[in-house]
Amino acid sequence: MILVAAVITAAWWFLPPEPDPPEEKPLPREEVALYFLDVEEYQLTRISRDVPEADDSTERIFQIIDHLKQPPEAENIEILLPGDLELIAAYTEGDIVYVDFNEAFIGAAEGSTGEMLFLYSIVNSLLANLDEKYRLVQFTVEGEQRSTMGPYGENSGHIGIKYPLGPRWIQDEDSS
């Protein structure tokens, strides 16, 4: 009996130790610039946020839109994208970024200033974080081009979205 116990002890002693679980390497991250609403100044403001590296431009586009829906911690800074807004598809061609949204895009903002803030929070955020060869953003809704984002027919809004939009910082041109 003693012999058996000695053999088991020796076997346990001389067995190679279990290998440590593989060390989890943190995914590489990088900083992106996102444009939110500064409620005090009532204009866009740039906020930096750490996000995982994206494999390609399409992944980055989805990631940016997703982060634009997450409220920043800073005081008096708010999101402009409604919660039910979904990005259906995204791709790039030439110098244009194409983004196709669901129907929640229509009427997601109203008034000239409201539409400008909403549209340019997306345009500015996308173009700030993609290769600089991309200069413009083309919006579509459920695969269709629209003249405006107005809710009472495509002719009822303010900002023209039939053609792609370039970045704009929504500042008084006299003070810029």
Partner: protein, 399 residues
């Protein structure tokens, strides 16, 4: 010797008659209904007319007087009335009543003067007191209206001094202009809905109608045309099509803004092109190649027409910005709302305009205080008066 005297005297008379007359400093009396002296104020005599030093005059009749060096405007406030004199624009803003031309405002040695008779007319019309300017006695008589009942000549009472004042003002720009005023939204499109339930389409229609009326009453050289004068839906592209077909000189689209409850102020927008740089470069290249043409065939003509269209667009862009700045300046002084400045964006309603075109956001309906204001006749008329002043200012400077 005597034979030279007569020609010499005639020469001297002619020199004196035609030499430029300079203004003479004077002092005039302000007296009460009984003729008793109340104050003496500085004035200027020019061409047999008296001009009050407005700063001294309004101080003397117990108004609060404020000269803003930055805007170069003199604001005077009495118990219930307020006037703002803008010598640069040649006009006076009367709170609650609108803008009046005042081209007889003079600036001498850093002081602001207005013709005594016009000053009396302005005060008589817009205050509860009677002001009568007596040029032969060089005095201004002031009293409560009832104190003057016995003295007022009934025939003279029919004559409205402001109307006479307006008739006497010479026009500096002679050209008439056609302005298309576009009340935004309408019909099935209510536009923004205010914190108080007010619909944007109703507010902007009221403002546009007030603007049309104000222009027709005060600026005969501006012809206003509305894209809609009732509650109907007009597609965006049809609005500028109307202006293009009528060969309008200016296009003004009127809106009320929306956003967060705290957002406040008015904004003036002009059209931006998202590909300005690229188009400018392409234009320059074709323009350069066109300059080398010796003959003009069909293709070259198309190029040149394209160049002319692009150049016209560039001129309209510049003029639109200039017009937008004039509107911003007028409204900034006259409205009790902050200016959010002049901005550019690719507005769908402006893109086909073949004339200088702007879009004015008059205030935020999403802001409860501004929504309440936008719903009042008084505020709508203030906006109309400011916009009309800007149109006249632009017309006089451009035409």
């Amino acid at each position: 010797m005597k034979k030279y005297c007569l020609p010499f005297l005639i020469g001297m008379v002619l020199i004196l008659a035609f030499m430029p007359r300079s203004a003479r400093a004077q002092q005039v009396n302000i007296v009460d209904a009984g003729g008793d002296l109340l104050r003496r104020v500085n004035a200027l005599e020019f061409d047999n007319k008296y001009f009050f030093d407005l700063y001294d005059f309004f101080k003397a009749i117990d108004f609060d007087v404020n000269w803003n060096e930055t805007t170069r405007r003199l604001t005077v406030s009495g118990a219930d009335e307020k006037f703002r004199f803008s010598p640069g624009a040649g006009r006076v803003m009367v709170a609650d009543d609108g803008l009046y031309p005042a081209e007889n405002l003079r600036q001498e040695n850093g002081r602001l003067y207005l013709d005594a008779e016009q000053t009396a007319g302005l005060l008589k019309t817009h205050t509860e007191k009677e002001y009568i300017w007596n040029p032969s006695r060089e005095q201004m008589q002031v009293a409560r209206a009832e104190d003057f009942q016995a003295e007022i000549d009934p025939a003279a009472d029919d004559e409205d001094p402001i109307a006479r004042f307006l008739e006497e003002i010479p026009e500096t720009g002679e050209e008439e202009i056609l302005v298309v005023i576009d009340p935004g939204h309408g019909g099935r499109d209510p536009g923004a809905i205010g914190a108080n339930g007010l619909h944007e389409k109703e507010v902007v229609l009221q403002i546009s109608l007030a603007l049309r009326d104000y222009i027709e009453e005060n600026y005969p050289r501006i012809k206003p045309v509305l894209t809609r004068d009732d509650d109907r839906f007009i597609p965006l592209q049809d609005r500028t099509r109307m202006a293009n077909e009528q060969q309008a000189d200016l296009f003004v689209s009127i809106h009320a803004n929306s956003g967060r409850a705290g957002a406040s102020g008015f904004e003036v927008f002009t059209l931006s092109s998202e590909a300005d740089d690229e188009e400018a470069q392409e234009l320059a290249e074709i323009e350069n190649s066109a300059l080398r043409y010796e003959g003009v065939d069909g293709e070259e003509l198309k190029d040149i027409q394209w160049i002319l269209q692009q150049l016209q667009g560039t001129v309209h862009t510049r003029e639109s910005r200039e017009f937008a700045r004039i509107i911003d300046d007028e409204l900034d002084g006259d409205l009790s709302l902050p200016s959010r400045g002049v901005k550019q964006a690719p507005f769908f309603v402006l893109k086909d305009a073949r004339m200088p075109a702007v879009l004015v956001e008059t205030g935020f309906l999403s802001n409860p205080r501004e929504a309440e204001k936008l719903g009042t006749r008084k505020f709508q008329q203030e906006i109309a008066a400011g916009l009309a002043g800007a149109l006249e200012n632009y017309r006089q400077n451009r035409y």
